[in-house]
């Protein structure tokens, strides 16, 4: 006789275990196996030893794509945190139409990434784009937003910031509302300025939120794909090829599945290392 009480917990967790085995463990294990093979999907897999790893360390474009991703992160994360915190601080005050502004800033988050990207592609147009029309209208030179290799990635970072900032405003608003008002009242009694209150009370108190925002932005930034894929295709001169776009290209354009898996694994390790370093750094600061 089977003990129903003993079986029930296993039955209850079995959907998750099944999902985990099928969609997490198996793909991860399979991709690790793939890193030692050459496979173009339509022909049988061929064992290739560590040749994919050797190829990786000689692949200048892959390291350029990691460099591009880091450039994106270096611009995007500080810009996003600064703007989101600034706007959250304003939207946390009792200003008129606060609800409307909160909704307006969040709107881009729920709009499809593809739609936003196509919209900004129009804004960034060299000859017909609105931004350059404004620039020439006030006597400034046109900017090659997406056609100048030095400016294309910052342009994408700016667009991504506009798209995502609403989400981080919400997170910061939650953080700001958890700061006990007594702290500010006490600071007021001591004659502290707005800036002093911000740096001495607000920032330390919302440190866990900042940590979460940094981690989320970093992981989000590392997965940069739609924007360069649609806007620039990785150009000009590979200046906007992100690591994920490059891995995608190797996998689903060249069908170098083994090599793409190797790049993916290596890139996952880089993300892990960056997140661990960030965690240590922010915890130390805390």
């Amino acid at each position: 006789m089977i003990n129903r009480k003993k079986i029930l917990p296993y039955l209850l967790v079995s959907p998750y275990i099944l999902h985990f085995l099928l969609f997490v463990s198996f793909p991860v294990a399979f991709s690790i196996i793939l890193t030692f093979h050459k496979w173009n999907i339509i022909s049988p897999m061929e064992y290739s030893g560590i040749s994919n790893y050797i190829q990786l360390f000689n692949d200048k474009t892959f390291f350029k794509s990691i460099g591009n991703t880091l450039i994106f992160l270096v611009i995007h994360i500080p810009l996003q945190i600064t703007i989101a915190l600034f706007l959250a601080e304003i939207l946390n005050q009792k200003i008129k139409l606060r609800g409307v502004f909160r909704g307006a800033f969040f709107l881009p988050v729920i709009v499809s990434g593809v739609v936003v990207t196509i919209l900004w592609q129009q804004l960034y147009g060299f000859d017909t784009g609105l931004l350059n029309r404004i620039f020439t209208g006030i006597g400034l030179d046109k900017i090659g937003w997406l056609i100048d290799p030095k400016i294309a990635m910052p342009s994408i970072a700016l667009m991504a910031t506009w798209k995502n900032v609403g989400l981080y405003i919400v997170l910061f608003l939650v953080g700001l509302q958890t700061v006990p008002p007594q702290f500010y009242e006490a600071a007021d009694l001591e004659g502290a300025s707005h800036l002093q209150k911000f740096f001495k009370i607000t920032l330390p108190m919302i440190n866990p939120t900042i940590f979460m925002v940094v981690i989320l932005s970093t992981i989000g930034g590392f997965s940069l794909f739609i924007e360069p894929y649609i806007m620039t295709g990785g150009g000009p001169l590979n200046s906007t090829v992100s690591a994920v776009l490059y891995i995608y290209k190797q996998g689903f354009f060249y069908y170098h599945m083994g090599y793409a898996a190797t790049l993916g694994l290596f890139f996952a390790l880089i993300i892990l290392a960056v997140v661990v370093i960030q965690k240590k750094f922010i915890e130390t600061e805390n």
Binding site: I42, I147, P236
Partner: protein, 429 residues
């Protein structure tokens, strides 16, 4: 009891899911995937209907290739999932070698009557072009859309030219005359031509590759697993295109997101195919006149001007139970009558010899004079080389094209050499 019910539900779901991907055609039926373009669906419908009337024992079920981002991806997914049709009629010639090497295509030259029929229909040069590296033939040359230079007749006349530019020098002269800053903001906003600046590999079918074929009289890019394009022709083409961008004769930014720049006279020329005719006829402004001519060639070039034909061919997958019957059906698609139907219904050119002189088609070309220009050019059309890594070859050329032609970071000699070296590395691996 509940566990038993759950098990039954799971098994039923699994059965449904696997059942969805399995072929539903009966044993006798030939499954034919055509392109999902409306005209080609109509063509397939008509041909299949005729076949089915005469062959009730071996019916053909036509079906547009399932929707996806590209038909190439759908075919790949079908090959991987082992759900390929028996016949597919929109295969890009450059993809065939990879599938042939993977062993998923039927060697057509082993079928009865194939070689006799195909030598009757096509020039031997075309048959050499489609022959695979292993000596077999896995594809039937079906249709082409040659790339030529479309030009605005009024723009050419207004510049006082006697006709469209034929050589690089003539092209530069016309470009210089046409280029203009119309709104006076200090930036050129009227260019002689436009070609997509994106680095996407297939964009080179509309600039570098047809120009290279024109300059070199149809030379190969790769042959016997080696890059053979590090030559004066490729360098000349790169230099020609680089000059067009350097002197702002061609726009560097994407112009596709606005009103058709050719019909709006923002540009006077474009490298394009016969599909532009239907579009231009539908949307051209009143009084707008255009025509086609051959691709520009280096000064002093003699003889016919070759171009890229963007060939789409027919293949039979090994999943087909009766390849001979499938071939018999395909034959009805590509007879003279079938090709005339293709022209009339789709306005796409069949890849057959003497197309411009064959009386079967003369009525069509009399009624469609612009298509006649393409039919004349069809004698000098080239497809792609047989290589399983052709997309990568074009991608590597495209990378160097961007560095040299668009951004002037490399000289044409350096760019062509670097592209050829990179392509040769592909074959070493």
């Amino acid at each position: 009891m509940k566990i038993l019910i759950n098990v039954i539900i799971i098994i039923s779901l699994a059965y449904c899911l696997t059942g969805c991907s399995s072929k539903k055609n009966s044993h006798n039926e030939i499954l034919y995937w055509c392109s999902n373009n409306v005209d080609e669906i109509n063509f397939a419908k008509e041909i299949a209907k005729e076949w089915n009337q005469g062959n009730p024992g071996r019916p053909v079920k036509y079906q547009p290739v399932p929707e996806g981002r590209s038909s190439e991806e759908i075919i790949l997914a079908a090959v991987v999932g082992k759900t390929t049709p028996d016949i597919y009629s929109n295969m890009w010639q450059g993809d065939v070698e990879a599938y042939a090497q993977a062993g998923v295509l039927v060697a057509l030259d082993t079928l009865k009557g194939f070689l006799d029929f195909i030598y009757e229909r096509c020039d031997s040069a075309v048959i050499d072009e489609i022959r695979s590296g292993d000596g077999h033939i896995y594809q039937i040359p079906w249709k082409i859309n040659p790339i030529m230079l479309i030009y605005n007749i009024k723009s050419i006349n207004d510049m006082g030219l006697s006709g469209p530019p034929k050589t690089y020098s003539e092209f530069f002269d016309a470009s210089k005359k046409f280029q203009k800053d119309i709104n006076g903001d200090g930036y050129i906003d009227r260019w002689f031509g436009y070609s997509e600046v994106l680095v996407t590999w297939w964009q080179r079918f509309f600039d570098f590759y047809p120009l290279y074929l024109a300059a070199s009289d149809g030379a190969h890019l790769v042959k016997d697993n080696k890059a053979v394009f590090n030559n004066e022709y490729a360098v000349e083409v790169f230099r020609f295109l680089q000059t067009l961008y350097k002197k702002n004769y061609f726009a560097r930014e994407e112009l596709t997101a606005r009103q058709d720049v050719f019909l709006a006279s923002v540009i006077a020329t474009r490298f394009t195919g016969p599909w532009e005719i239907a579009h231009a006829e539908k949307f051209k402004p009143k009084g707008f006149e255009y025509d086609y001519t051959t691709m520009p060639v280096p000064d002093g070039h003699k003889g016919p001007v070759y171009t890229y034909g963007d060939p789409k061919n027919i293949v039979i997958f090994k999943s087909c139970k009766d390849p001979q019957a499938a071939w018999n059906y395909i034959k009805t698609m590509i007879t003279e009558e079938g090709d005339l139907k293709l022209l009339e219904i789709t306005n796409q050119l069949p890849r057959r010899k003497n197309l411009n002189r064959n009386p079967v088609f003369s009525n069509y070309f009399t009624n469609n004079p612009k298509m006649k220009i393409f039919a004349e050019e069809s004698k000098y059309v080239k497809g792609t080389d047989a290589s399983p890594v052709l997309k990568e070859v074009f991608d590597l050329i495209s990378q160097e094209y961007e560095a040299c032609v668009i951004y002037g970071e490399k000289t044409p000699e350096e760019a062509v050499k670097d592209a050829a070296d990179a392509v040769n590395l592909l074959f070493i691996k």
